[in-house]
């Protein structure tokens, strides 16, 4: 069943003033459970084809960290596409580009290609959804590749190591605390049989979301989807059940020292709700991050870089797009001659003053909403951003209505909402404060 969801321009116009053109979005569901979303952006004769699976790093069995991501790599080695260069070479030889990514909640595969070749990439993607066949030797070589990837992304970068340690300290129980790429000692022991079992259990049409954006019409997409994905049997996917966090009762501190650090910084992260678990509060947190830390007129910048020249950089962010838990953070990097103690005290001062106040002024609320609105409108200029927004949202269990309500929810946030959520989330006992610095004696 297809339905026209929104020419959402009217909705945005009501909420925020200037209208953004939005592309028509429609959905369908095949009998085997595959959900499809079509975003018609007809500006150029290209299409973005994405398949999101409702499985990610946080769904790995204990002791197998990195499995979801390794499987993502192995999907490019499916025997069905066993030519030199594999899957990607076939896409490339048809003038397309492809890649994939794994997050704690989803694994997604995508191609961008001339829109008249949509059926071709669907055929390839369907073939590796149906089953996966990879040789043992090839799989183990790819495991070496992942170890190199880990070295490149994490071990060769002090900030990467630091982030891994902070996450592990943040989560007392939930698997978001383990690194997506995996711990080195666990990656080194991953077996092909684990990956194939993971594929069989989680990769199937009833555990996937198909997104096609670009110069396409919904009828054609549905017909092609039926042709290529329609006869893949369901796997009997069941909703994910994950462990949850107990109440956090103690502030945690992480000190990571590395001789390569030349710019120390302090980062404090708080456990927070997400867009899926609590959209109103997530929207208020988005605004709180902007009031505190987005741009020169934000509280932290004003206090730490304008009024006193303490910080090289400072800011705040909210990561609220994960399925189960979000994180809210403030950070500051001191100028030479300013210690981490000093900068952390100054950062605390900003938060204390803010929490003791009546909250953001009307002018501040207007500032952050306008800033956010501009980002939203300009995001319409990117086909892949839109495709990801829908695909990721659906794959973590949000409905289309919930995904599309986001701009309205944000614009409805009041100063009182911001204060309420600030007091609820900025609690020391639900926080991790991390410091990244060079060991004493190393030139900073």
């Amino acid at each position: 069943m297809r339905r026209l969801l929104a020419l959402a321009a009217t909705m945005v116009a009501l909420a925020v003033g200037p209208a953004a053109a939005e592309w028509p979005v429609t959905t369908f569901t095949l009998d085997n459970g595959l959900e499809g979303v079509v975003i018609e952006d007809r500006r150029a004769p290209v299409a973005t084809h994405m398949v999101f699976y409702r499985v990610g790093g946080a769904d790995e069995p204990a002791g197998r960290s990195g499995l979801a991501h390794w499987l993502e790599h192995l999907m490019f080695k499916d025997a069905d596409t066993a030519v030199e260069g594999g899957f990607s070479a076939l896409v490339a030889a048809n003038g397309g580009q492809d890649n994939a990514f794994t997050s704690p909640d989803v694994t997604a595969y995508f191609q961008r290609i001339a829109s008249d070749r949509l059926g071709f990439v669907m055929g390839l993607e369907a073939s590796r959804m149906r089953d996966l066949e990879v040789g043992e030797a090839e799989a183990l070589t790819e495991r070496d590749v992942i170890l190199e990837e880990r070295a490149q992304r994490v071990e060769n970068d002090p900030s990467g190591r630091f982030g891994e340690q902070r996450s592990a300290a943040m989560y007392l129980n939930h698997p978001y605390g383990q690194p997506l790429i995996g711990w080195r000692h666990e990656i080194a022991k991953l077996q092909l049989a684990d990956a194939l079992a993971f594929h069989a259990r989680h990769y199937g049409p009833d555990n996937a979301v198909l997104v096609v954006a670009g110069d396409v019409d919904p009828e054609t997409v549905e017909r092609l989807a039926l042709e290529h994905y329609g006869d893949i049997p369901s796997i009997g996917a069941v909703p994910r059940e994950r462990v949850s966090e107990p109440p956090h009762a103690a502030p945690r501190r992480v000190l990571y020292e590395d001789a390569r650090v030349r710019q120390p910084y302090v980062m404090r992260e708080f456990l927070a709700p997400t867009r899926r678990t609590d959209p109103e509060r997530a929207a208020a947190l988005e605004m709180l991050a902007a009031v505190l830390g987005d741009g020169l007129n934000a509280r932290l910048q004003q206090a730490l870089t304008v009024e006193r020249e303490l910080a090289v950089a400072t800011g705040a962010w909210f990561a609220g797009s994960a399925r189960d838990y979000g994180e809210f953070a403030v950070y500051a990097a001191p100028q030479p001659g300013v210690s981490l103690d000093e900068i952390e005290a100054a950062m605390d001062g900003v938060l204390e003053t803010f929490l003791a106040s009546d909250g953001p002024s009307a002018e501040e609320m207007e500032r952050v909403k306008t800033r956010w609105r501009a980002s939203w409108i300009y995001s319409q200029d990117s086909q892949s951003t839109l495709a990801r927004r829908y695909g990721h949202g659906l794959a973590i269990g949000m409905s289309i209505e919930e995904i599309e309500a986001w701009p309205e929810t944000l614009q409805a946030v009041t100063a009182e909402d911001v204060m309420e959520v600030a007091r609820a989330v900025l609690r020391p006992e639900a926080s991790v404060t991390g410091r990244l610095q060079a060991p004493e004696g190393v030139e900073g």
Partner: protein, 443 residues
């Protein structure tokens, strides 16, 4: 089972090449004020993307003030006219104007995104930023602190160290060999007068390229550009001569205590005006530019698992071009990765590419071309780039014909003439094992 075979059959039966692109239609207009502008009308979204490319980049800054062009570009949105940095940001926020300027070696680029409904006010604010930036003392000190912080961090970042090392090794006497950010000493020296001079050097209509894409008509675009740029001077700059490459290429190891080594292998490349340019583009694609399908990825990553990422690149600036490869690998295995890359360089020079590789590369290159232009902002930026390289306005459409025209003979000729596997400048950052200094070699 049979479905699976059907999928495989489909996979191997390559479809015919896509139809000629009905790509964006580029209009070349000259404003009443005499400025050439390339425009694509795109009324679908109520926004306008603008790209200005001023041909006065960091190569023209004094060596003792290296980094001043970059700092100047970053300060353009930090206060202008009567507005200090905070007031300027508030004004830009109120209009939903997004803009940034960045310094390259040959040019300073300004990219802006504006909403149609606040276009006039946005253009006025942008004009103010380009013509009357304040360079207030407090904003300058913030920018200096950021730049010095990033220079220090780059001092232990393997990729940044590797890039800096190969540039310095290839161009010992040319500004191309200097880091864009300068160093701590040169940045400490930058004062307001130096920033004002850098702005005057860069923001000049003498060598300007303009791309604009969005919800505007040609007349509106012309008026907008004239208002924006009328106050800037138009000076003919003396061209800088071609950059000189170093005579010797020796292995250089930059010691860094890190588990993984990062290597770069570079040699002179090929200019846009060379008749074999597209043959070289195809050759480089097969060698290491084509992602998973490339020879380097196959040999270094897929076959041996020596790396997560290996690729080649063709880089070109106004006065030099470079062909290179990059790889990151365990300290114990990086020597093997470098040896494999060198072998592939030699194999390509000796035997060139196959007919099938040529066809695959052409299909990829022509197919991927329109994919790179799927947003207004990307098209605006590309148009300014084409204009500054002296390409025609319809290059967006005709470029694929130039790729299609490349023959096997062309590719193999350029491979034999261009590639110098025995004379690669190799730099390695880390603690590589089993590499001798003679490895790079001079001939």
């Amino acid at each position: 089972m049979n479905l699976r075979m059907a999928a495989a059959a489909l996979a191997f039966a390559l479809l015919p090449p896509p139809p000629a692109e009905a790509a964006a239609e580029v209009q070349a207009i000259e404003t009443p004020g005499g400025i050439e502008v390339w425009l694509v009308e795109a009324p679908e979204i109520p926004m306008v993307a603008l790209e200005l490319r001023f041909g006065g980049g960091a190569s023209r800054e004094p060596a003792e003030l290296a980094g001043v062009t970059r700092m100047m570009a970053g300060l353009l949105d930090d206060g202008a006219g009567d507005l200090d940095a905070a007031a300027f940001e508030a004004a830009a926020d109120g209009l939903a104007l997004r803009f940034g300027a960045s310094a390259g070696r040959d040019a300073v680029s300004v990219s802006a995104r504006m909403l149609t409904e606040t276009l006039d006010e946005s253009v006025e604010l942008l004009r103010l930023a380009l013509t009357e930036p304040r360079f207030d003392a407090d904003a300058v000190e913030r920018a200096r602190a950021r730049q010095i912080s990033s220079i220090r961090s780059a001092g232990t970042d393997p990729s940044a160290l590797a890039s800096r090392a190969w540039r310095a090794a290839l161009f010992p006497e040319d500004p191309y060999g200097r880091p864009l950010s300068g160093d701590e000493a040169t940045v400490a020296r930058i004062d307001r007068a130096a920033l004002v001079a850098a702005r005057e050097r860069a923001l000049d209509r003498g060598d300007l390229a303009v791309g604009i894409v969005g919800d505007v008509t040609p007349d509106e675009a012309a008026a907008l550009i004239d208002r924006l740029l009328a106050d800037l001077p138009e000076t003919r700059r003396d061209p800088l001569g071609p950059a000189e490459f170093a005579e010797t290429r020796e292995l250089e190891i930059v010691e860094l205590d890190a588990p993984q080594a990062v290597a770069r292998l570079v040699q002179p490349g090929i200019g846009r005006d060379d008749p074999d340019f597209f043959a070289a583009v195809v050759m480089e694609h097969v060698l290491g530019g084509g992602g998973f399908a490339s020879r380097l990825t196959q040999e270094v990553r897929v076959e041996r698992g020596l790396t997560y990422s290996v690729s080649s690149f063709l880089a070109r600036w106004d006065r030099a071009a470079v062909l290179g490869a990059q790889v990151a690998s365990d300290n114990a295995r990086v020597a093997e990765a470098i040896a494999v890359i060198r072998e592939e360089w030699a194999r390509m020079r000796g035997t060139g590419v196959s007919e099938e590789e040529l066809d695959d590369a052409k299909r990829y290159l022509t197919g991927a071309w329109p994919l790179a232009f799927d947003s207004n902002a990307k098209i605006a930026s590309a148009l300014a780039g084409f204009m500054s390289e002296g390409l025609p306005p319809d290059y967006l459409v005709t470029r694929n014909d130039l790729v299609e025209a490349v023959t096997l003979e062309d590719v193999n000729r350029v491979a034999a003439r261009l590639l110098t596997p025995e004379r690669l400048q190799v730099v390695v950052v880390g603690q590589p094992e089993g590499l001798e200094r003679t490895d790079g070699g001079a001939d």
